[in-house]
């Protein structure tokens, strides 16, 4: 998992800017991968030297071929392997002997087929390590660099994309070809285009770090099928965003909840791999997209236009209906309709027809031509109360679409504010759309996509500008005491810690537990209850019972010594009836809190991202609505605050319908302390605090029940 950060820096400069390239295993059969890779390098005007290496051909595409890479008289910066997978080891070994330090292994037949393929992949990794070779692949489409300094199409894609400032990294080779086709139709260019396949040497994280410093790249797009090291991905993203200000968009497939059902805790069952992935990517400032279309919709906004400074949007339209649709879409994304200044309204009054609506959304009326769009757009862009503009056009008989498109491009270029367009329709607007796309005005088929792209750009802007999270060193933490409880359970072969032990661990980390004690006899229970003070709650303690309520092992609101004794007997009787033979350790007597909002806090250890902290409102909200939020630990004060505000039922805590607000600050502290606990006690696999009872503002909160799985 940590291989990436521990391994030496990868030589990516020679992958993208080689002075000489050798294609190992090429042939003369057009239409095959070994041939087409070589032909593409030649055809697309690579600026360096390219050598075909073919065991039996004297020449390929008219270029003199070499039998072995060792036969090439000059140095080779980059080797591209297109041999069958069974002999890639031999080819790579010769590359090592030749002194080649960078390679792209196109061939399939490695880890992705399992068995012998897995062994082959391990072998090439070992050869690469021996000779200090960094390589892309295997099992990939290749690499494209559109920079005129290199102009390398080392791939078997049908076409080389136009130059642009978007980099695309993909785990899937086939998806690359579809993306190239999609992008060409929309005039979207790329800086670097990489299919990284099995990432046996160079990973997406290595490539991201390279792109951070690539002057040709402004936006990084990644398609991933698996995240093998989520923590490293988050770290890389955070560094790239803070150091280079480049946005990272991720399309991650496999949005399933596999594995979640088998979890033993609430947190385990709610924190499915995709939910955690979603939260983690967002936490690191990455923009997760659900489709290729959404990814490019967001990418062109970020790549072509300045970032919005705020959420006040002006809408300019030549039709009422689309204006309303755009308004709805804008509000849905938590954006606002900008209020124009008096100066802007004055300009509109003078220059637009009396029938025009000069308030936002501005309706320039169906017969509007380029001059009216120019006035409306220019007015909005120079208004200090406007952060960005959406331009909408419907093709009416009077609409001079192409002139309007030109005017939009000219006007937008004069201001440092983002403007996006939606020319609604298909055939009639096609030429206008083409003008917008070629001049880097983001165009969207629907206003909904436009507002989503704006919201994504704004999210990125906010994230980029945030100060780094600060982590509090809390007092009252006794790591050793907590560890002793865990060690004691593990040495007894137990992995489930009932409430009594879980409470001790939480208490050691300063979480507010209620006064309590374990009674092993009735008089002891009565004495404990009197000492704690009524009312109390009594609960069965047994390693054999996880769900105490299911066996009627909990009695609430006990208010007298007599009731305490009766409850003691009743619980033992109930448990014996429901689970005969269960080993009972005693009865847990705990102070009962009757007022307050119930929330749930949890911990889960995710295979890829590490320790995950969960927060949600208790009861129905967590059971039915799954209204919870997640963060990857460590969680600081800001993230804790965001977690609480993120849930849909936040208003219940903030003081809805005349209720007093709850003590949210105390919950924030609990979340942070829990994050420290989970990081410092790696034996804890899952943890639930359910419920944490939150009092009114200033009144604190209390752990009413907890369980820990080791």
């Amino acid at each position: 998992m940590l291989e990436n950060s521990a391994s030496p820096p990868k030589d990516l400069e020679h992958v993208f800017y080689p002075k000489s390239v050798a294609v190992l295993g090429t042939n003369r059969v057009a239409g095959t991968v070994p041939h087409d890779i070589f032909a593409n390098i030649l055809r697309d005007n690579f600026q360096g030297i390219v050598y075909p290496v073919s065991p039996k051909e004297r020449s390929v595409a008219g270029v003199r071929a070499y039998k072995y890479v060792l036969d090439i008289p000059d140095p080779v910066d980059l080797a591209i392997l297109v041999f069958p997978s069974t002999v890639c080891n031999l080819a790579l070994e010769q590359c090592g002997q030749k002194g080649v330090r960078s390679a792209i292994i196109i061939s399939a037949g490695f880890r992705e087929i399992g068995g012998a393929g897995l062994q082959r992949e391990e072998e090439i990794k070992s050869i690469a390590k021996k000779h200090n070779i960094s390589f892309i692949g295997p099992n990939c489409l290749g690499v494209i660099n559109t920079d005129p300094l290199s102009h390398l199409n080392a791939s078997f894609a049908r076409k080389m994309p136009q130059e642009g400032n978007i980099a695309f990294l993909s785990q899937s080779g086939a998806l690359c070809t579809a993306v190239l086709d999609y992008a060409q139709a929309k005039h979207i260019g790329f800086s670097k285009f990489v299919s990284f396949g099995n990432k046996a040497s160079i990973s997406e994280i290595d490539l991201m770090y390279y792109l951070k410093d690539d002057p040709k790249t402004k936006v990084i797009l990644i398609y991933l099928e698996e995240i093998s090291d989520g923590a490293a991905l988050m770290k890389a993203a955070q560094e790239i965003i803070s150091e280079s200000g480049k946005p990272i968009l991720v399309l991650k497939s496999g949005r399933t909840r596999e594995g979640a059902a088998a979890a033993a805790s609430h947190t385990g069952s709610l924190a499915g791999s995709d939910e955690v992935c979603d939260a983690a990517l967002k936490q690191a400032g990455m923009i997760r997209c659900t489709t290729i279309e959404e990814m490019f919709n967001n990418a062109i906004a970020l790549a072509y236009q300045p970032l919005p400074q705020g959420k006040r949007v002006a809408i300019i339209t030549n039709a009422g209906g689309p204006g309303v649709l755009a308004t709805d879409a804008t509000i849905k994304q938590n954006l606002e309709l900008a209020k124009f200044s008096d100066a802007t309204l004055e300009v509109y009054k003078k220059s637009l027809p009396a029938t025009a609506n000069i308030k936002n959304p501005v309706d320039v009326i169906g017969d509007a031509r380029a001059d009216r769009y120019k006035v409306a757009l220019g007015g909005a862009l120079q208004d200090p109360g406007v952060d960005g503009v959406f331009v909408i056009l419907t093709p009416q008989s009077m609409t001079d679409i192409e002139n309007i498109a030109e005017e939009v491009c000219n006007t937008v270029g004069k201001y440092e504010k983002p403007a996006y367009a939606s020319f609604m329709g298909e055939m009639d607007v096609a030429a206008g759309i083409s003008i917008l796309q070629q001049r880097n005005i983001p165009h969207y088929v629907l206003p909904e996509s436009m507002s989503r792209a704006y919201a994504s750009a704004l999210f990125f802007k906010h994230h980029r500008d945030m100060k780094p999270e600060e982590f509090t060193a809390f007092s009252g933490v006794d790591k050793t005491k907590a560890h002793e409880v865990i060690e004691s359970a593990l040495s007894a072969g137990r992995t489930y810690l009932p409430e009594e032990e879980s409470t001790k661990i939480l208490q050691a980390y300063g979480l507010p537990v209620l006064p309590s004690g374990l009674a092993t006899a009735k008089p002891e229970a009565v004495a404990l209850a009197e000492n704690i003070g009524f009312p109390v709650v009594m609960k069965i303690v047994s390693d054999d019972i996880v769900h105490k309520f299911d066996v009627k092992g909990v009695i609430l609101d006990i208010r007298t010594p007599q009731a305490t004794g009766d409850a003691y007997d009743a619980i033992l009787k109930n448990v014996e009836a429901a689970k005969p033979g269960a080993k009972v350790k005693g009865i847990f007597v705990q102070k009962m809190v009757t007022k307050g909002e119930e929330v749930i806090l949890g911990v889960k250890r995710d295979r890829s991202f590490g320790v995950v902290i969960m927060f949600g409102l208790g009861g129905l909200f967590v059971e039915v609505f799954k209204d919870v939020s997640f963060r990857v630990a460590p969680v600081g004060a800001r993230a804790a605050c965001e977690m609480i505000k993120e849930i849909r039922a936040y208003s219940m805590l903030a003081g809805a319908r005349g209720k007093k607000p709850r003590d949210i600050l105390s919950v924030e502290e609990c979340i942070q302390r829990l994050s420290i606990l989970a990081l410092e006690q790696p034996e804890i696999k899952e943890l639930d605090i359910n419920p944490l009872i939150v009092n009114d503002e200033g009144g604190g909160c209390y752990v009413a029940d907890a369980r820990i799985m080791l």
Binding site: G25, N27, V29, T32, P34, S54, P55, K56, E57, K67, F83, P84, T86, V87, L90, A91, A116
Partner: protein
């Protein structure tokens, strides 16, 4: 049939199928890496060996054979069978 005969016939078939100069076919020559067999030609080679020696080979195992000398051994194993 002795190993020398098998070797001579393996080299003859290899030269024909892969269209390479017989002089280039050494015992250690790798069909793909040294003689340029692609995946289709590897299958053609297996079929040609079966015809030449009138044997039926396990295709999966045959595809794992990479060099001329390994092919000689592999085929000899079939020819020994009753």
């Amino acid at each position: 049939m002795d190993k020398a005969d098998i070797k001579a016939r393996v080299e003859k078939v290899t030269a024909l199928v892969l269209k390479v100069d017989p002089k280039e076919i050494s015992p250690t020559a790798n069909f793909a890496f040294d003689l340029g067999a692609d995946s289709m030609q590897s299958i053609e080679l297996i079929a040609a060996f079966e015809e030449e020696f009138n044997i039926q080979m396990d295709e999966q195992k045959a595809r794992e054979v990479q060099t001329v000398e390994a092919a000689v051994e592999f085929i000899a194993g079939y020819l020994k069978q009753p």
